[in-house]
């Protein structure tokens, strides 16, 4: 913390200088922030795929599953962070609690996305696939899932951006990620506001969100060459 005192200016625009002064810490926070944002979404998607499929296959599963996952999403992140350790037998402030909470959020969001994505595949197409001799698994991976990609990637974008901001919240309870910058900003605002780490935190979070979003957009374009044909 003493290093912080060397930052001379408290002007918001000084965030770049602040970054250069604490490069290695900031970059490691950015790095862990990235992983914490991405990995839970990937795991969430892997879990949501079979659940979403179930909700499509057995229609009666859909309403309760969507209510349940909707409920998870309404739990404030701070509360979820606090709830996780006792539920999963972890010490409080265990570094695993954040990815677990984020994975739960991602699953909650993506189950619905996957189910709706599969619902976007026209009944005619599904019937035709069955009629020409696809088995259920082959039909899922080679017909239904590829056609659901645009809906699923739209959901992934929301999940990723949401995660970037939720990860930052976890930083304020002591996890090492960009959220720490906000804590530092407040701690150093004893005599007048000290903006640089706060602005830096915002800038890096926004940049991270934008980059992740862009990556998913590109992924979507690569996976759906047929959509370009639809648009043109």
């Amino acid at each position: 913390m003493t290093a912080l005192a060397t930052s001379s200016s408290s002007s918001p625009l000084h965030f770049w200088g602040y970054f250069m002064d604490h490069r290695s810490t900031d970059l490691s926070w950015l790095w862990s922030h990235t992983w914490l944002s991405v990995v839970p979404v990937v795991i969430g998607l892997l879990v949501a795929l079979p659940l979403g499929w179930l909700a499509r296959r057995y229609r009666f599963v859909y309403p309760p599953l969507i209510s349940l996952t909707g409920l998870i999403y309404t739990i404030p992140s701070i509360a979820l962070f606090v709830l996780i350790p006792p539920l999963f037998g972890l010490k409080s402030l265990d570094p695993k609690q954040v990815p677990i909470a984020l994975t739960l959020y991602s699953i909650a969001l993506l189950v619905r996305v996957v189910a709706d994505g599969l619902a976007s595949v026209s009944e005619d197409t599904v019937q035709a696939a069955t009629a020409i001799g696809f088995k259920p698994l082959g039909r899922f991976f080679r017909v239904e899932l590829p056609i659901a990609v645009p809906v699923i990637t739209a959901g992934l974008r929301v999940a990723l951006v949401a995660n970037v901001s939720i990860v930052a919240v976890s930083g304020t309870i002591g996890m090492s990620n960009l959220g720490q910058l906000f804590t530092l900003g407040f701690q150093n605002s004893t005599n007048g506001p000290y903006y640089p780490p706060i602005v830096l935190g915002i800038v890096l979070c926004v940049l991270l969100a934008l980059v992740l979003d862009r990556i998913v957009i590109i992924l979507n374009i690569l996976l759906t060459p047929w959509r370009k044909a639809v648009r043109s």
Binding site: A128, I132, F134, K135, I147, W226
Partner: protein
Amino acid sequence: MIRFESVSKRYPDGTVAVDELDFVAPSGQITVLVGPSGCGKTTSLRMINRMIEPTAGRILIDDQDVTKVDAAQLRRGIGYVIQHAGLFPHRTIIDNVASVPYLLGTDKKQARARAMELIERVGLDPRFAKRYPSQLSGGQQQRVGVARALAADPPVMLMDEPFSAVDPVVRDQLQEEFLRLQSDLGKTIVFVTHDIDEAIKLGDQVAVLRVGGHLAQLATPAELLSRPVDEFVAGFVGRDRGYRALTFTTVGELAVHDEQTVTLGAPVPSGADLDNWILVVDAANVPQGWLNLVELSRDDTTVSADLLYRGGTLATQGGSLREALDACLSSPSGRGVVVDSDETLLGSITAAEVLALIEKRRPAAASVTGSGSERR
């Protein structure tokens, strides 16, 4: 050969969609299932490839009970075409067509070569091969659907209202091409439609179903029109069935009258011996339309295309009586134009003469007005 043996389907909610259905769809022929909405046509069709399992009875394809074959395996050997084609939007046309060969593990290059062949065979421009379904019109997509069903050269094809979602002109075209294709391929086809005209046009035999999934009548189109078994079938095949039955009656040679003609672009003829109507032909003696000499103004000195009445249909020598009668009825002059198979003019015939021919065929015609007539 596809054989239905007392096949019934009761859905879990109690609806009996098909009731004790018995019939045989002979190899190499088109069997059409026709009937009002909800009479169980789709259900019957889908029981053949086990998209729906019957609750009683059995279905045999070439004496093999379909339930004894693995469902996916069975379906790969049966072509299936549905109303909106049901193409895979994420696959190019060529890959759509090659879907079944891919499933069967055919080498990719070979599958595509075969797909390409079929794309042309169903009358599509080969340039479409690399396009996606959304870039094709409904009629074109339907052709792709047919090509996809044919790709693995299955002996059996199931078609569920494949042509009913396209406009009448395209439908006509698709039907003609389908018949041409079938005359080359000789598949065993079960074809579902709710359109009796389509059934009569395409079917080698037609099965009329009534609501509740009962078979009302199984017959050839001609027989269906001339001898509907009951009021329901009679009503379903329509009031002008007598007229439509003429489709199946050919006469040998129509004795035609010579018809005076004028060539398109020639001076307007004049003379007291001319009828009010004169037939206009092109340089190759192909009829173009009728010219009304009475109506012409003084400025009309040459026979130009915009003066013609083109409403009349043409009868082909050796064609059906329906064609001949229609040519007379649709001709503004009352004289039906008869052409040779190369479309050149042979002469004309009158409605009275066609009716005389129909009268001469009385034994067949008698049954049209006989057993099946509606009592109203």
